[in-house]
């Protein structure tokens, strides 16, 4: 493993015409549920914020506390609790209906709002004269899950995003158990949607994903919650992200073998149930395009894709870059000197 200060390997390159134009470095951890490092490229001991890639772990209390059963949280809503959705109509409508069922509304969401990621939905919204509210926030499903848990346990909903709130403290405890380390003194900050982010070594984050993938050694309630979360994400790949997004495309093509979740600043996580492994990737510079290409390469390295699946996913695994008139001018691809 690289020592601190050593440069992480170059894993992704961006071509344009006859030249590599840009390069991305990353650390990649592939770990089993006991913490055995199957692959560790780069510095996997450095703490990273999991950002939205950690959402499947943050959803465990929604199931474990009984909130999901109490409020009849559907498979679709469970997938949305783990989503960074694109703000397409179905995402937004489902979140609105879920909030209503738990006796909340958009005003209870503390995530703020932003325009949809999905350009056609953004255009339709603006052309219709409407404005995005907090249900359009890509994290609105996760926040609906938080509100559901608070409602179920009789906790105040106001301030549910704060580090000290029981919702966030419950998640912290869950992360400690899944990642196998104390996090009380871990570096922390605030996420784009207002909740805490906790610095966790990349290898420990991958181990937590492995424990979702193979929950056989987890307590029964947590194991059942892990299986329900992965099954929901695999069943509803559109709801986990949206039209054209990498998470969605890969899960639509390869099904339950890989459950994927993207995060901001070049983080990507995967639970691999058939192998009983977890994957965590952090691109040094925070580029999502590189995290996707690196994840694609890891999946191929682990022989998780059939030849047919690779063909079906060719433009997701090494995406073309197109100019303003649609001409392909380059590609994002695994680096020629990538270690994997």
């Amino acid at each position: 493993m690289a020592t601190l200060g050593t440069a992480n390997p170059i894993v992704v390159e961006v071509t344009r015409g006859g030249m590599v134009e840009s390069r991305h470095r990353a650390a990649v951890a592939v770990v089993d549920p006991d913490g055995k490092v199957v692959h560790g490229w780069g510095d996997i001991e450095r703490p990273v914020y999991g950002r939205s890639a950690i959402k499947p772990l943050q959803a465990l209390p929604l199931i474990e506390t009984g909130a999901a059963d109490r409020f009849r949280v559907s498979v679709a809503e469970t997938a949305l609790a783990c989503a960074s959705h694109s703000g397409e109509p179905r995402h937004v409508e489902l979140v609105g209906a879920w909030l209503a069922r738990i006796g909340c509304d958009v005003a209870d969401l503390e995530c703020g709002s932003h325009l949809p990621y999905h350009e056609a939905s953004l255009e339709a919204l603006l052309r219709s004269g409407r404005h995005p509210d907090a249900t359009y926030n890509n994290c609105s499903g996760k926040h609906s899950g938080f509100l559901s848990t608070a409602r179920h346990l009789g906790e105040p909903t106001k301030g549910y995003i704060r580090y000290e709130h029981p919702v966030q403290q419950r998640i912290l405890g869950t992360l400690e158990q899944m990642c196998g380390l104390r996090l009380g003194d871990a570096p922390r900050g605030v996420d784009g949607c207002g909740i805490p982010v906790i610095g966790i070594p990349l290898g420990n984050f991958a181990m937590a994903m492995a424990r979702l993938a193979d929950p056989s050694d987890l307590p029964p309630a947590r194991a059942a919650a892990a299986q329900r979360i992965l099954a929901a994400m695999a069943a509803e790949p559109f709801l986990v992200a949206g039209t054209g997004r990498f998470c969605t495309k890969v899960m639509e093509v390869i099904g339950k073998k890989v459950v994927l979740k993207t995060g901001a600043e070049g983080v990507y996580a995967a639970a691999l149930p058939t192998l009983g492994l977890g994957v965590a990737i952090k691109v040094d510079d925070g580029a999502g395009r590189a995290a996707e290409a690196a994840m694609g390469k890891v999946l191929r390295h682990l022989r998780l894709l059939t030849a047919d699946e690779e063909r079906a996913l060719a433009d997701a695994l090494t995406p073309p870059i197109r100019n303003r008139v649609g001409l392909e001018t380059g590609r994002v691809r695994p680096a020629s000197d990538s270690p994997f």
Copy 2:
């Protein structure tokens, strides 16, 4: 200077709460008009595509051929010829009027279209039921300059973006003289707006910017064109980029001491007339946020900013990262282990 294969230095870091979340590496060249390397951090011999940062050099033929005088190209239009504008109303209106004056219209632009970078302009456009045409392309001013030159010299306007077209061959010759090297065999590709991009070593690109800044050894017509271009950019910083953009904010505050131009994939260039130097930056991973922070640090390193100017530009030099409710969650800043 770093040898090929050595990692470029980390020059910019992105903080969130108690931790550095992401890091960017770059090469930075500060060079004089004779090619003397005043500062060379990282590998400045590796070819880079100048992308839009090279526009001030691409505008030289517009002036030198007499096209600008023939068509009474204004100071504002000259700035737009060097711009990556945000598609705000004034940008778009000026380009439309310019095209009409040379007997062209939007259908002659071969750059394609895209939604305005400026979010309020994007919203206003869509809410009004309109669609962006090619005048909204951030490169539409540059393309209007190309069309002006072709019109003036009686060349076909169709295909003016192609490598073989006289407009592009004229620019290639200009770049060869300004960069001090033959480019016929240089790596090349196609830019986002359809024109050729040419791989040029970063140090040579910086030297070309220095020759704009101090054109005393250039042939008189080229020297006059260089001065006219820099004067126009300094006089119209809004037209070079747009509301809230780094190029615009810095030039609005510090005036003619620094003429700046951003480019895609983490490229940034500057001409420094008071020092007679040129600067070229390429962020390895292509991140614009890092190129801006690195450029800000270079300008401070060269003592080009007064204390008042530094204060006025604080949020441009080390920009805050805000979450969806406006809370500051981190900063983009020069790295603690940056070499400059």
